[in-house]
Subunit: 110 residues, 2 copies
DNA sequence: CTAATCTACAACCAAATGGTTGTAGATCAA
DNA sequence: TTGATCTACAACCATTTGGTTGTAGATTAG
């Protein structure tokens, strides 16, 4: 159960990071391509600093990692975060399935 | 791709709802048992109104549904939300896997 | 060397969030 | 009927969030 393995603060940061359309878009982009922070910034109708903050939020959530290359900072996906979040939701659905199975058993007996 | 099917506002509400430990705990509880709002409230070191608000957030995110029973309001899980959130993360990982496969192909050719 | 580019970070602001208390309407129990 | 219980919701408050502008340090290009 992820619920027990991953700290609440970590999950807070993870889901909080995913709870913004711009940040989800950044994740989707860096999943397939490499972007520097300013290349990302060019994609959105907001300031460079705003995008920089979004990237920082994703970084703190372990969804993304930065790597310095010359004067640029390249943003890459960091799968750990994504996997931890997905695992929690998988666990939830598994708990649900166990409950469904339990109810089926009871009905089969009755 | 969920990214296209589910509105950004919906995903915002979903992940935002999951970005709080109390709300994740409520989800975990109602996955296996039935709780009224006040039964839930009794579990946490905060006011009834605070828990009521948390339930409302989960409800708006389609993670939970309320059903009136007498003077009580029973809180049940509503799988739709959970599945939509999980699907997005699955999509992300699939995109990643495709990228990995693509890179493998390139390496195989080279 | 100088100028342009990329990044980091501080200070500020409006809006949203997560909590509180208080009031009031339904429903149930005695 | 009366009192207790369950819920809803408003008003309020402190903190966080998502945006802005401005300043300054590295690094690259000419």
């Amino acid at each position: 159960m992820v619920v027990d393995q991953v700290s609440n603060a970590e999950l807070d940061r993870l889901f909080q990071a995913l709870a913004d359309a711009t940040r989800r878009d950044i994740v989707a982009r860096v999943l397939t391509d490499e972007y520097s922070v300013s290349e990302l910034a060019a994609e959105y109708a907001m300031s460079f600093a705003a995008v920089q903050k979004h990237v920082a939020v994703l970084e703190r959530a372990s969804l993304v990692a930065k790597e310095k290359r010359g004067r640029e900072q390249m943003v890459r996906i960091h799968l750990d975060g994504l996997r931890r979040a997905r695992r929690l939701l998988d666990d939830y659905e598994e708990i649900w399935q166990q409950r469904v199975a339990r109810i089926d058993d009871i009905l089969a007996e009755g």
